[in-house]
């Protein structure tokens, strides 16, 4: 660490001088310089104020009990690690197949060849299933703590339901909302127009854009049969969300908390959260994006 910079100032040494970490001869030289240098004296004063503020505010914290209890339970009840074990251990319940394991999870024991066959079979089955009117949708309940993106969606939903959230764009037209989101550079959800044969009354309300560090997130509000519904969408890389769904399928995680149902899934490089207080598990809210009667039939099975 140079004592003197090219400009003759001792900027780099001021912190360690203030902390008392410089050898005595060096400290004496810095002190001498600061006495005659207004700039370094000001710099030292600024560092002292910064240190004082940091020392006052950055200190020990106690983990909140709900978080602590939840994590501890996950750890103690988890499966012990072993060579080649799931790297997500012991938080298996963070995965979509938490409480109701997906049949796909049991295929981990297959070798490369087995995987290849299974993948091809899944693709074929998925495609066939879809065209036969049976899209492959998995809905898995979980009691694991929600991730930040879902918590934000829940908070914004409640804020909106209480009238405390001002939308950036208000419209009852799905096409207009889509266009506005597109122009705003936010992720665009596949919002459809009210299908004539759909018994549910779907009324879009408007949208807003949230800025995430990794990109923008969109928030769309609408009502289904008078119940407020919030859909948040972000690029999967911009937030933490559930694992991506298998090709030709959709794995949806359901979490009920404080009277609200949240459905989360990742597909096509985007993560979605759907929050509502609709009857059942809120799956009716999926109708906003899926007017296809075959999808409605699949949803109605849950």
């Amino acid at each position: 660490m140079p004592l003197w910079t090219w400009s003759g100032h001792v900027t780099e040494d001021l912190l360690r001088f203030d902390e008392g970490l410089l050898p005595s001869t060096r400290a004496a030289a810095v002190e001498l310089h600061v006495r005659g240098c207004h700039r370094c004296a000001q710099h030292l004063e600024s560092i002292r104020r910064a240190r004082q503020a940091l020392q006052m505010e950055l200190g020990p914290q106690t983990m909140p009990e709900p978080l602590s209890d939840s994590l501890r339970q996950s750890i103690v009840s988890g499966t012990p690690p072993s060579s080649g074990s799931d790297t997500r251990w012991p938080f298996a319940d963070r995965l979509p197949h938490a409480d109701s394991r997906s049949p796909l999870s049991h295929l981990r024991v297959l070798g490369f060849g087995g995987w290849a066959i299974v993948t091809i079979a899944l693709l074929l089955l998925g495609g066939t299933g879809w065209h036969a009117g049976r899209p492959w949708i998995g809905l898995y309940d979980t009691s694991a703590p929600p991730m930040a993106f879902e918590r934000a969606a829940r908070a914004l939903h409640e804020q909106g339901a209480q009238g405390g959230l001002s939308l950036d764009f208000e419209s009852t037209s799905p096409a207009a909302i889509r266009g506005w989101l597109h122009d705003s550079g936010a992720p665009v959800a596949k919002l459809v127009t009210q299908p004539a044969d759909n018994p549910a009354r779907i009324v879009p309300v408007g949208a807003a854009v949230a800025r995430l560090r990794g990109g923008a997130a969109s928030l769309v509000r609408y009502e289904i049969d008078g119940h407020p519904v919030t859909l948040m969408t972000a690029d999967a890389g911009a937030t933490t969300g559930p694992s991506a769904s298998w090709p030709m399928s959709k794995q949806i995680t359901h979490r009920r908390d404080s009277g609200l149902d949240a459905l989360t899934w990742t597909t096509g490089g985007q993560t979605y959260v759907l929050v509502s207080d609709l009857p059942g598990r809120g799956t009716q809210a999926c109708l906003l994006c899926h007017a296809d009667p075959r999808f409605r039939q699949a949803v109605s099975r849950f």
Binding site: I47, P60, M63, S83, W89
Partner: protein, 201 residues
């Protein structure tokens, strides 16, 4: 002036390591052998320290919860890889630092939520408490402006009171590099802090 120029206090001599928990080798061995009660014990020993770093780094309880969960997920899934080449706590700090640096914090819409919560309860506070909350909020906001590598160095220094050498071990840098980072971090923090304070007046 004479007195003003003296070093404010010798930080390095603080008994920081005395505050750090000793993790018994037997406990680590038990964890490696899949003893679930041992996992719980290790969690109890480290949880508050992990959470404190995550909270001060992210500035948001919700984000801190995500980072904390990620840390313990990484810790327990990689425990069998820990060979004792460094102190366990150094290894843990490394996991915490990596998890924090990897975390992409959502901003904008999320930040005002915390502020709204803070302002909602301001009316019920006494004058001192309002000032303290405001100061804490300004420190958080100033920290948030720092680049991740500078911020994590500050957090390790002030929350865990690690020495320059220990921070270097955690971040994979020399103590000279750490000194330089901390120096820049203080300058950047100081400037941001002053700017935010003036803006709040």
């Amino acid at each position: 002036m004479e007195e003003d120029l003296k070093a404010s206090r010798p930080t390095e001599s603080r008994a920081s390591s005395a505050r750090r928990p000793e993790v018994p080798q037997a406990l680590l061995d038990a964890c490696r052998n899949g003893d679930r009660d041992a996992f719980g014990e290790l969690f109890d020993l480290c949880r508050d320290r992990v959470y404190a770093i995550a909270l001060h780094y992210t500035g948001e309880p919700a984000a801190a919860a995500d980072v904390t969960q990620d840390v313990f997920m990484r810790l327990f899934s990689r425990l069998t890889q820990f060979r004792g080449q460094c102190a366990f706590m150094t290894w843990l700090y490394r996991i915490v630092a990596n998890a924090a640096l990897d975390y992409r914090r959502s901003r904008a819409r999320l930040a005002p939520l915390d502020e709204a919560t803070t302002f909602a309860s301001v009316a019920a506070m006494q004058g001192d408490e309002v000032e303290r909350r405001q100061n804490a909020s300004q420190v958080r906001a100033a920290l948030a402006t720092l680049r991740p590598k500078l911020r994590i160095a500050l957090v390790l220094r002030y929350v865990e009171e690690l020495s320059y050498e220990e921070i270097g071990e955690v971040l994979g840098a020399s103590s000279g590099t750490v000194a330089s980072r901390l120096s820049r971090a203080h300058v950047a923090f100081g400037q941001a802090f002053e700017r935010i304070r003036k803006g709040d007046r």
